[in-house]
């Protein structure tokens, strides 16, 4: 594929089919290009989404901007589809994984602090707890 290295201030415009690429996937792609480019995104008539990338620094990491952008947007679209199909099971998995940690409870049961120090009438934490309480 031919290299396409735009110069500082120049603009590359990419048109995408909105029935294939969601706004979310395009925005995530823009985020990863945002070190080197400024963006203007607008919805055209029909199903077209127009993304203009303007080079904002002298050295640009991407050599084939258009191809790299579309390739990354395609991957983000795939990721969206995976997420859509796995969100429920992911939530269940994480709940199972961390149920024992108590992170799902509003407040942990039992003594929060050092039990030995808290049992001492003159313990540091008795003093500090009283002072703060």
């Amino acid at each position: 594929m031919d290299k396409e290295v735009p110069g500082l201030g120049s603009t590359v415009t990419i048109e995408l089919d909105r029935t294939l690429f969601s706004a979310e996937a395009v925005l995530k792609t823009c985020h990863w290009f945002s070190k080197d480019f400024a963006f203007e995104i607008c919805a055209r008539e029909g199903a077209c989404l127009s993304v203009s990338l303007t080079v904002k620094q002298a050295s640009v990491a991407s050599e084939c901007v258009r191809a790299d952008f579309i390739s990354m947007a395609t991957d983000f679209t795939l990721r969206e589809r995976i997420e859509a199909r796995t969100t429920s099971i992911r939530e269940l998995l994480l709940a199972k994984a961390f149920a024992e940690a108590g992170v799902l409870e509003d407040s942990p049961e039992g003594v929060f602090g050092d039990p030995i120090e808290e049992e001492k009438p003159d313990g540091l934490f008795k003093i500090l707890s009283n002072a703060s309480g």
């Binding site: 995530k28 985020h31 990863w32 290009f33 945002s34 070190k35 991957d75 983000f76 795939l78 990721r79 589809r81 995976i82 997420e83 199909r85 796995t86 969100t87 099971i89 992911r90 269940l92 998995l93 994480l94 199972k96 994984a97 961390f98 024992e100 940690a101 929060f112 602090g113 050092d114 030995i116 120090e117 540091l124 934490f125 500090l128 707890s129 002072a131 703060s132």
Partner: protein, 497 residues
């Protein structure tokens, strides 16, 4: 008489429906790399993810079996094995259990070195007002033992902590008594340049079981350039100190760390060879930290992350050659990343944890009683940025420290699972969030990953390690596994005579 068997489908029926389990992916070396929630990975041919998502993936292939075995999918002929996958996820996130494990006591800010990259504002060797008081030490110890962690580490550092040796002698017996009373395990470490270490000091450390962590930046010309002190003899003192410490405290109880300055970048082989010459078996190729005094001297010591990555890759190649020659030398960052990639476990290394390990897994008690979320937070405070000051030992409890505005703001940006740029990243399970680094370098705890040095370093390092994994060279993988398991290096094949 030939026997006939039923076709394979009778034993492993072709599924009617296939369901995906959550995973992330990226493209590497002409393949797709799939990584599940527990960090298990699989290289697959281009097009695999699309076929999985579109439901056109053939369930009769070997790859299908691998995808099923590694929890990327399940079907109507098998259970999703959610409890097993949940247990794997829990194992990977072991670092979030148990409370704060590492407690760093800054016993003094005094130091007789004036290193260009020093991350703290060093004070002259005679200024006693920069030492920790016994009242502060008592409070800090009480806070440390308030942690529910069953295994605690007390690290005494500075400045140069041996300049406040009385405080070390004060802390060690008290910490041991408190650990014994509470039935906790305790590791003791002193981080010292060894320049002022006397044999009596070292004998005390040996008697009390205190480990020594010291600095060695490379051969004499580089070490002395990086670490100026009166007499320009930092290297000679470090080497002498290491030799005496090994003799008195024990070889296994003395470790060294190096820091990479711009002066180091062209000398990675010499630095590594120096570690071999000094008979160390670990080396940590560490970039300079963008905190504290290092920020002031950035022009003298700083460099682009791309140059550091080149340094790291060249260094790792040299280290592997040394291991192939039979000398065991593990690179610590590689070991940490490989543990996360190749084993079911996470690591205690706080910079690569999500939720971030700062405050949760490490607390720093400064000489003046201020408590910070990490050593890096303390360095920022030395530059008058108190964003990560959680409180003070003289007025706070563990609860108020960990629920302080500073801690809560940091915790909110400490999960890479929810950060822009990280939430979809295939390397998420191997990486961290490091809100303090991003605050220091980008002015934003959440950070902008496309321009983040943290992201650049870890993305490239992990890709580099996957390049070795993809090659699957038995000798290289044998070395990696030897580092991870403590087993001997793979033996060299000797051709038959």
């Amino acid at each position: 008489m030939p026997r006939t068997f039923y076709p394979a489908e009778n034993f492993a029926p072709v599924p009617n429906s296939v369901s995906l389990l959550p995973f992330r992916f990226t493209r590497l070396f002409g393949k797709e790399l799939l990584v599940n929630e527990a960090g298990e990975y699989l290289f697959a041919p281009e097009g695999t993810v699309h076929a999985l998502v579109s439901g056109s993936f053939a369930a009769t292939t070997e790859l299908y079996k691998d995808l099923k075995a590694k929890h990327f999918l399940y079907d109507d002929t098998s259970s999703p094995l959610l409890d097993i996958l949940a247990a794997k996820i829990r194992t990977k996130f072991q670092h979030i259990y148990g409370g704060t494990k590492l407690h760093i006591f800054v016993v003094t800010l005094r130091c007789e070195h004036s290193c260009h990259y020093c991350q703290v504002s060093r004070q002259g060797a005679a200024k006693g007002e920069f030492d920790m008081s016994t009242a502060t030490a008592d409070r800090a110890l009480a806070l440390m033992f308030d942690s529910p962690a069953p295994h605690l580490t007390l690290e005494m550092q500075g400045g140069e902590p041996l300049l406040a040796f009385d405080m070390i002698r004060y802390l060690v017996p008290r910490a041991k008594a408190m650990a014994k009373e509470r039935g906790k395990m305790l590791d003791l470490v002193v981080t010292t340049n060894l320049a002022v270490a006397t044999d009596e000091m070292l004998q005390y450390l040996a008697d009390e079981g205190v480990k020594v962590s010291t600095s060695l930046d490379g051969p004499a010309f580089l070490h002395n350039q990086n670490r100026p002190r009166p007499g320009n003899d930092s290297y000679e003192r470090a080497i002498d100190g290491i030799a005496r410490a090994r003799k008195i405290v024990g070889v296994e109880n003395v470790a060294a760390l190096m820091t990479t300055t711009s002066a180091s970048l062209d000398h990675v082989e010499e630095i590594i060879d120096e570690y071999v010459r000094q008979e160390f078996h670990t080396i940590f190729l560490r970039p300079i930290s963008p905190y504290g005094f290092a920020v002031k001297s950035r022009k003298r010591t700083g460099y682009e992350m791309a140059r550091f990555l080149e340094f790291y890759k060249r260094g790792l190649k040299h280290i592997l050659e040394i291991n192939r020659s039979g000398y065991r030398l593990a690179e610590i960052y590689t070991q940490i990343l490989l543990t996360k990639i190749l084993t079911p476990y996470g690591t205690g290394y706080v910079d690569l944890q999500s939720p971030a390990g700062e405050a949760w897994n490490v607390l720093v008690y400064n000489y003046d009683g201020n408590v910070f979320a990490s050593d890096e937070s303390r360095m920022l405070a030395e530059m008058r940025d108190n964003t990560f000051r959680l409180g003070n030992v003289h007025k706070d409890t563990r609860r108020t420290l960990l629920t302080s505005d500073a801690a809560l703001a940091m915790f909110e940006s400490s999960c890479n699972q929810t950060l822009v740029g990280c939430s979809d990243c295939a390397f998420q399970a191997y990486c961290g969030a490091d809100p303090i680094f991003h605050h220091a370098t980008q002015g934003d705890m959440y950070g902008h990953r496309p321009s983040s040095d943290f992201c650049a370093r870890n993305m490239e390092s992990i890709k580099h390690l996957f390049s070795y994994i993809a090659q699957d060279d038995p000798a290289t993988m044998g070395i990696f596994w030897a580092w991870l398991t403590g087993r001997p290096l793979p033996s060299l094949e000797v051709p038959c005579a």
